[in-house]
């Protein structure tokens, strides 16, 4: 399986995402924001960072990039797309996901290992998790507070489209402790925390067993690979 990672001006986590994809067992394909070409990939990751310095709104200018025409088209046809942090912000700005992200309620950048509960293990990126699995992956952002209208929130909750919720306290004021959501089809997922930073023992969050040994993030990537094998 080939999974594309799009690099935008100001992307930071594109290399980590590519490494996570390789560790999960797929080929990572570097894609460029200015191209109109997805190079035949089977899935896409929009990585974290600060595209265009968060000018206008976080993810807003990147969501208007040339390659986003192809990304939006592919997402609507069912290609699995994962937006992490800034990538999540781009997916909301591109109207592929509902809601929006605003500045953290305490006005501070937050960087820490964060507990999450997987609320939906049927999306293309979460099938490898047990129902209601509790995981720990890093959270690092300044504008991660998920907002949506009452009506949208009702729809997201009613249709089981909350992918992950913060546990152990709401870090940023997100409505209903929402850390990630999916679209109706379940192929597009946006996550504020960073699974790509918890994929290799020695470089992940601390666990009860050993320091920095947490690899809970790897399952997002192995899920989409397993899903592609089933589809064949």
């Amino acid at each position: 399986m080939r999974i594309g990672v799009v690099t935008f001006p100001g992307s930071l986590d594109d290399r980590d995402a590519a490494r996570a994809i390789r560790l999960a067992g797929a080929d990572a394909v570097a894609l460029w924001h200015g191209d109109h070409d997805l190079h035949g990939v089977d899935a896409l990751v929009l990585p974290g960072g600060f595209s265009y310095g968060d000018y206008l709104r976080a993810g807003a200018i990147a969501s208007l990039s040339p390659i986003m025409t192809e990304v939006i088209d592919a997402a609507k046809k069912g290609m699995p797309v994962l937006g992490i942090c800034n990538g999540f912000q781009m997916l909301t700005e591109a109207h592929l996901l509902d809601g929006g992200l605003i500045r953290n309620e305490q006005g501070r950048f937050i960087c820490r290992d964060q507990g999450l509960r997987i609320e939906n293990n049927a999306s293309d990126w979460t099938t490898g998790f047990a129902a209601k699995a509790e995981i720990v992956i890093p959270l690092k952002n300044g504008e991660g507070s998920f907002m949506a209208s009452d009506e949208t929130l009702k729809t997201l909750e009613g249709e089981g489209r909350i992918v992950a919720r913060y546990i152990g306290g709401n870090p940023n004021g997100s409505l209903n402790d929402i850390a990630g959501v999916t679209n109706a089809r379940g192929n597009v997922v946006g996550l504020m925390p960073h699974p790509e930073h918890a994929v290799e023992a020695g470089f992940g969050p601390d666990t009860d067993d050993a320091m920095a040994s947490g690899v809970d993030g790897l399952t997002f990537f192995t899920s989409v690979i397993a899903g592609a094998l089933v589809a064949r």
Partner: protein, 94 residues
């Protein structure tokens, strides 16, 4: 060359941490400057100045309205609170 001004504010019902931080600073100043003592809140928004060729007529305003609703603001978190033609240019560039 006319300029059309677009003003965007965070939605009234959403917390505005930026405004809150400014209000906090004003509150601290207010302890020593009585003129600030009655400030009860601050919200921070954005102002865009869009220069166009030709007349700032109804068509031009409609085009900027479209731009304001689709690009300059995100209706999930923000409202466009004003669109108007600027009376005089704020600066002339030679």
């Amino acid at each position: 060359m006319p300029t059309i001004v677009v003003e965007v504010m965070p939605k009234a019902e959403l917390l505005d941490p930026q405004g809150k931080a400014v209000a906090g600073a004003l509150g601290r100043l207010g302890q020593t400057q009585s003129a600030l003592a009655n400030v009860t809140g601050v919200r921070v928004g954005k102002r865009f100045e869009i220069s166009i060729d030709g007349e700032a007529d109804a068509d031009a305003l409609a085009a900027v309205r479209e731009l304001a609703d689709t690009v300059l603001s995100n209706s999930v978190i923000e409202d466009v609170v004003g669109i108007h033609v600027q009376d005089a240019p704020s600066s002339a560039v030679a």
